[in-house]
Amino acid sequence: MERKVFGALGTVIIGIAVIAGIGTYVAAAKNDPGITQATPAGSFTAEDGKSYPQVKLNLNVYPNSGFGGHHGAGGGAHPDWVSYALGGPNGEILADAKSGTNFQVPPHTAVTITVYQYDSGETLNNDFFAYVRGTVGGTAKFVKSYDTKAKANASPETVITNIPADMVGHTFTLHGMSDGKDQLFVSVPLMMSIDEEVGAAEEGATESGYVQNPTKTTFTFITGDEGEYVWNCEFPCGDGTIARFGNAMSAMGYMSGHFIVKA
């Protein structure tokens, strides 16, 4: 009988080990691109006079994944999918950016995000997302043409509350529901770059394959308590799928990611 007891116990242990082994493999295979910590940038004084520590993030949106970056050489598994990525301080294309679309910022902090938009665009399904929502003052700063070579605005900076719904390239939409208690909804439309220029750039008219003058949008919002959120683009840019919300739109690391508020 003792042999059978040990046998049964051994089977249970082997079973648990198999499950743990497969689970560890699956967990490791998720190939999480990691989390980017926002860069500290001094302090920010809100309209009510209250002062917050400030952090910054620089993001680029590309019409494909050919920039390398977190998708790897040649654009990875889906080189033709549109993608967000970390960018340089002046919209530089970072081919060696290791992390993807997961960001971490501190609680009770002013977060300033600048997005350089290299893609063209069309019409939104829902005009709601053509409006700036959840930012400080309900506004964003917008530059229609930013010269990435001269590292200067090629057109004047304006303050916007919305853009035309038929000129949206993408959106940055941080959804309100978190796994904690604080709600944090931010949505900012990103103006399209000019269609012809995007097309010409992709066909080799520019060295990088991207437009020289993307649009630039900067906005600031204040975080609450700790929590983890999901953000994504609300422009239907998952080409090749029904309703265009598949492919890049439904894959983390392309047009969506996690936004973690944590000290």
Partner: protein
């Protein structure tokens, strides 16, 4: 005529083919077609709605795998001969039957129903093993609210794969092993009506398994087991693995259904009138008879799904004139009868055992038959209760609610038969006996919660929640799997010639049943709180119920692993079983252990029913 090789002689083709040649040929065929498709398939036009070229390549490669595998296992030899106007020789038929082949016959295209039964038993255990591992990954990830152990997309695929693999496992768990091994002997036949189709039905399942595994490496099955369209139309290439898996499995089920039905109708022993036919046979026949119309519909639904993906058709794509509701209807026309394909044979197996372990006749044989017939008839008229909230035909909700609730009546008849047989019986407390009580308890909870879900207003609140998940686990696992495990323990002596270890099987039974009720009561709790199904992370308020469910799941796992050990150890070195250890009266217990190749030296003549243990006291 084939001459079989003696040692050192060149082997005939029929002797060379086995599971290894099948895997080799299938793999080579898939790789060749994949390379050719890559080289010659034209690129998609700009207007192609989906990534169709990749789908074409994947599906063609999987079809090549299937054809290669079936050729490599030897399934095409007999049809090829038939096309040539010939047939297999007696020697070849005996070779196919596994005569004198020893353990090798389990790895070949063997036609003997007993070999096929054992093959089904092993593959069912493998399927439950894989499905169980996936279940534990799910429950471990849900052990804490934030999840995150597994990537959400991998989690979705694990949930979908767990669902479909367990459904397939439960479909075959009784009709596969026991319908094949026991049923022909129980009716006094030498084999199945179509032995080659019998082997075919088994090897089709093996062939189907590979595309499902393949799917995990090309994007997975991110849609849940139901693979609703147009969601499935947008899913990654892994969806093609699901499509191929279902198509091949559906063929297997159709083939098995035709074979079992024909065998029972045409090959019962002399004197085995319908009134003397054991109730288990009714359960098996009802199951496959339901599967016969249901699975062609499932097959068709997946063919259309594959065409939408690979050929740019729009059966389910609303944007191009199709309808997602079409898929939902086709799916559930299979999906609800399938519940009874699973349940009926498991309950019938327990009804078969109840007289044996109470030493009383089955309480009202006719009511049992009417119950099985009633469930079977009504089960094809209830499918749209899965679609109350889909927006399809709201006016039909009331009729479907009525038919669904009517099914409680024949189900109640089966309860009545079991309770009536147990009532005042001299209970022989074996694991099968305990399983009858477990089934009554679990099926009662599964059934009553099913009534709530069949009710349109209640379903509006409960649908899509963990309450639904708990409900169908109570029916399919709590009732169905409990019956199947009881059947394994009951017929283990006949199938293996050994007695299963009593102490270990008792421990396994109690751990499994306690763990099961803890796990799924916890799931009912979070379902009522409002937790949706198929989520990788959840709000803090659902934590307690989920933790309870995870603890219960681990308890089930320990119970199942102990049962697995008991089966393997008893099979290898258990106590030799007498010919009729339970003193039962059905025909399978009249043949020796091990059962000879053609079962009976002289075919039996039946003169009474199988439940003559004495009169039932009313």
């Amino acid at each position: 005529m084939t001459t079989f090789a003696t040692k050192n002689e060149k082997k005939a083709l029929i002797e060379r083919l086995n599971v290894f040649t099948a895997f080799a040929l299938g793999t080579i065929a898939a790789i060749v077609v994949w390379r050719l498709s890559l080289a010659f398939l034209p690129a998609d036009s700009e207007s192609a709605p989906l990534f169709t070229r990749e789908d074409k390549i994947t599906l063609l490669s999987m079809i090549a795998w299937f054809i290669g595998f079936m050729t490599g296992i030897g399934a095409l030899i007999a049809p090829f001969r038939w096309v040539q106007g010939k047939d297999l020789t007696h020697e070849e038929n005996m070779f196919y039957a596994g005569k004198d082949l020893g353990i090798k016959r389990y790895f070949r295209y063997t036609t003997d129903h007993k070999v096929v039964g054992i093959q089904y038993l092993v593959i069912t255990m493998v399927i439950f093993g894989i499905g169980g591992i996936l279940a534990m990954l799910i429950r471990t990830n849900l052990g804490t609210p934030e999840g995150g152990w597994i990537h959400p997309q991998a989690y979705n695929s694990i949930v979908g794969t767990h669902g479909i693999i367990m459904i397939v496992g439960t479909i075959i768990m009784v009709t596969g092993p026991f319908g094949n091994y026991i049923m022909p002997i129980m009716i006094g036949a030498r084999d199945m009506a179509f032995p080659r189709l019998n082997a075919l039905s088994f090897w089709l399942i093996v062939a189907a398994a590979i595309p499902l595994i393949w799917a995990q490496f090309i994007g997975g099955i991110s849609t849940g087991w139901s693979a609703y369209n147009p969601l499935a139309g947008q899913a990654p290439l892994g969806m093609n693995g699901y499509i191929m898996f279902i198509c091949i499995f559906a063929i297997s089920t159709m083939v098995a259904g035709a074979n079992i039905t024909t065998t029972v109708v045409r090959m019962r022993a002399r004197g085995m009138t319908w009134n003397r036919t054991p109730i288990f046979i009714y359960g098996v026949v009802a199951s496959v008879a339901l599967a016969l119309p249901a699975f062609p519909v499932f097959f068709l639904s997946q063919v259309m799904s594959g065409m939408d993906r690979a050929l740019g058709t729009s059966f389910y794509n609303t944007a191009l004139g199709g309808s997602g509701w079409l898929y939902e209807n086709l799916f559930w026309i299979m999906g609800h009868p399938e519940v009874y394909v699973i349940l009926i044979p498991a309950v019938a197996a327990l009804m078969e055992m109840a007289p044996v372990f109470t030493r009383r006749p089955l309480f009202s044989f006719n009511v049992a038959v009417m119950g099985i017939a009633g469930i079977s008839g009504l089960s094809v008229l209830v499918w749209a209760h899965h679609m109350y909230m889909s927006g399809w035909a709201p006016l039909l909700s009331a009729p479907f609610m009525l038919t669904t609730e009517l099914i409680s009546i024949p189900t109640g008849m089966l309860f009545l038969v079991l309770v009536g047989t147990l009532w005042r019986g001299r209970l022989w407390m074996t694991v099968p006996t305990l399983s009858i009580f477990a089934l009554l308890w679990n099926f009662m909870i599964g059934g009553i919660t099913g009534i709530y879900l069949s009710d349109v207003p209640a379903d509006a609140f409960l649908h899509g929640s963990m309450f639904v998940t708990a409900h169908f686990h109570y029916t399919l696992m709590g009732a169905g799997l409990t019956g199947a495990i009881a059947a394994l323990i009951y017929w283990f002596p006949k199938m293996t010639g050994k007695m299963i270890n009593k102490r270990l099987s008792w421990i396994a039974f109690w751990l499994t049943q306690i763990g099961f009720n803890v796990a799924f009561m916890g799931m009912f709790f979070v379902g009522l709180q409002g937790q949706p199904r198929r989520v990788e992370a959840y709000a803090e308020i659902f934590n307690k119920g989920n933790l309870i469910t995870t603890i219960g799941a681990y308890t089930i796992m320990i119970g199942m692993l102990i049962l697995l050990y008991a089966v393997i150890d008893s099979w290898r070195s258990g106590v030799n079983a007498p010919m009729n250890p339970w003193q039962a009266k059905t025909l399978e217990w009249t043949v020796a252990n091990p059962v000879p190749l053609e079962n009976f030296e002289v075919l039996p003549i039946v003169t009474s029913d199988a439940y003559g243990y004495g009169k039932a006291k009313s």
